[in-house]
């Protein structure tokens, strides 16, 4: 394959004296959807936060689009084309839907392009168009997640980091979100996804990584992981639903 868009090598991240990531190696190639699955506390969110610069790594290197971004402040990383939709949605509750989307385009100043992209988000999530003047905090959980994904799209990222986009959502909404992830990917956005809903994530990804207590334990094509008995036992539960 071509040059990786994102690569992590031996990344260690600590919170105080407690090491959360014990040397993560991970690559994402352009055009891929890669998912990172694992149990609570395995370090999935920490991995994303380390990539986006919101948490400082202790050692190791992170390269994005040919540049070393290991110690770069998060606002500069966004400008390189790496957007993150943080865990728990984190939309701005008192800004309107439109203003939330405009905040997503904070690093851009092409008014026409921003307006076009807002329309693009609304085309993907029509409900956001109906609620455009409503404060973000008045939306339902699913709508807020759509807004969070839409907002992350607004910076026109090359790589989109999505942290638990299905968290706490009804199955139909989860399907809708994953459909949009597929669409975005087909339009050329590379996606790194963190999910608890391992089955859904693996079905929609090209490759997957399994994270256990701060270390990568498995890495393979998504369908291989789906069929792997260890993954099935630990993350997919019994039977099919």
């Amino acid at each position: 394959m071509s040059e990786p868009l994102l690569s992590l090598s031996a990344v260690h991240t600590s919170y105080g004296n407690i090491e959360a990531l014990h040397g993560i190696d991970l690559v994402v190639y352009p055009g891929e959807i890669v998912c990172l699955i694992g149990a609570n506390g395995a370090g999935k969110t920490t991995t994303l936060m380390s990539i986006s610069g919101c948490v400082k790594t202790r050692s190791g290197t992170i390269r994005f689009d040919g540049k070393d971004i290991t110690q770069m402040p998060s606002d500069r990383i966004v400008r390189l084309g790496l957007a993150q939709s943080p865990e728990g949605r984190k939309i701005f509750p008192r800004l309107t839907v439109l203003e939330n989307l405009e905040m997503g385009a904070f690093i851009r100043d092409d008014k026409a392009g921003i307006a076009a992209d807002i329309e693009r988000v609304i085309a993907l999530f029509p409900i956001l168009g109906e609620r455009r003047h409503q404060a973000g905090g008045t939306l339902s959980g699913g709508e807020q997640q759509m807004l969070a994904v839409g907002r992350a799209m607004m910076s026109r990222p090359k790589l989109l980091l999505l942290d638990e986009p299905s968290l706490g959502l009804a199955p139909l909404i989860v399907l809708k979100i994953f459909e949009v992830i597929k669409t975005l990917n087909a339009e050329g956005t590379t996606i790194l996804l963190v999910e608890q809903n391992a089955r859904m994530a693996l079905r929609h990804s090209h490759r997957g990584y399994v994270l256990e207590t701060g270390a990568i334990t498995m890495a393979d094509k998504a369908d291989v992981l789906l069929a792997d008995p260890r993954v099935q036992a630990a993350y997919l539960g019994e039977g099919d639903h």
Partner: protein, 372 residues
């Protein structure tokens, strides 16, 4: 596109000619030409007021309050030492314009120098401290306020210590213009200061109004709501806060330059004490933190009370009782208690302030989405 897409905000703004601010502005512009109000007040109470001079003071105070509002209201930085930057502006004006020093830049030079010096001071204080959370920043700025006061008091060689620097010359205006103003030019110092302060205040309100609707305005709201999410949007929280802190300090310095020029002296350093910072903060909080109109109202109510109403009432009370030198009957002596009481009552019954912006109101009434 749905029908709602036409209006950016749910309520369309009133046309300009229907807005009462415009009429208030007209009154302010023509006010100095109508000294009969002073005569009326003097006839009723016997207090010799110069309302236009008091209005200059009120407007300078409003400029200072807008500076503090940028730091506390927009950027969410609890700053308890705004008087320090006000003092830095005033003493910079003194240093660059009194006869003692070789600079003699005059008023127009000092309104450039004062904001620069105060802004740099803000940058130096803010750089290591804006990352501090709420209370800690308040402690640092409180300390800074006292440090500046004590330093200016003791730096006798530069600031003339408790005497302050004076006389600070009046603004120079072209002789042709002065001649054209005719009679008004005879009392030119206060008239010039009146219009300089008015123009600066209008310009600041215009700039802040535009800013509230701009990208920067949204960035401040976003930053107050969620720092992590703001950082994910490519906003640098520390830099944004530092910029707000430094610009606020610079505007406070500008207000200090106007203040010193208006008084024609820097006044003694003890003028710029902790109480002064707190009174500005009272105006901002009682009026409505983060709300332009609220801050102007807060200054209008509190400082008008302090500089116009309280002397007039005092005269009337003392006349009524017949004791003209009783300190307990002087409202000015009760000022801090009255302000404190007003602050407590506001916090208890209307925490968003007397005239809040819709957004801040929503932030304080959690979970109502701004409808309440």
């Amino acid at each position: 596109m749905t029908a709602t897409a036409t209006a950016r905000r749910p309520v369309a703004p009133k046309p300009l000619w229907k807005r009462f601010e415009l009429y208030l502005l007209l009154v302010l512009v023509i006010y100095p030409f109508f000294p009969f109000l002073d005569q009326a007040i003097s006839a009723i109470s016997g207090e010799q007021l110069r309302l236009d001079r008091q209005l200059v003071n009120i407007m300078i105070f409003a400029i200072l309050a807008l500076a503090l509002n940028l730091q506390v209201g927009y950027a969410g930085l609890l700053q308890l030492g705004i008087a320090a930057f006000f003092a830095i502006g005033a003493f910079t004006t003194g240093v660059v314009s009194v006869e003692k020093y070789p600079f003699q830049f005059g008023f127009w030079g000092s309104i450039i120098m004062a904001p620069i010096v105060a802004g740099v001071a803000g940058l130096l204080l803010g750089a290591p401290t804006v990352r501090l959370k709420g209370d800690y920043l308040a402690i640092v700025t409180l300390g800074f306020g006292e440090v500046v006061r004590v330093v200016t008091l003791n730096l006798d060689a530069i600031t003339d210590g408790p005497r302050g620097l004076s006389p600070i010359p009046s603004p120079w205006i072209p002789p042709d213009l002065a001649a054209g103003l005719g009679d008004v030019a005879k009392q030119s110092h206060f008239v010039t200061m009146y219009f300089v302060a008015l123009i600066v205040l209008i310009a600041l309100v215009a700039v802040f109004t535009l800013m509230e609707r701009s990208r920067a305005g949204r960035a401040f709201v976003a930053l107050r709501e969620d720092e992590l999410a703001s950082a994910c949007m490519g906003l640098n929280p520390a830099k944004t806060k530092l910029a707000a802190f430094a610009v606020g300090a610079a505007i406070a310095g500008f207000a200090g330059a106007l203040y010193a020029t208006n008084l024609q002296t820097t006044a003694e350093p003890n003028t710029y004490d902790f109480n002064y910072s707190i009174i500005v903060l009272c105006c901002v909080i009682i009026g409505g933190l983060g709300s332009l109109r609220g801050v102007l109202l807060g200054v209008g109510v509190l400082i008008t009370f302090d500089s116009v109403l309280s002397p007039v009432l005092t005269k009337l009370i003392q006349k009524g009782v017949g004791a003209s030198d009783n300190v307990f009957l002087s409202l000015t002596n009760w000022k801090l208690m009255i302000f404190g009481l007003a602050l407590i009552l506001t916090m208890r019954y209307k925490p968003e302030g007397l005239w809040p912006s819709a957004r801040v109101k929503a932030e304080l009434h959690e979970g109502t989405g701004g409808d309440k």
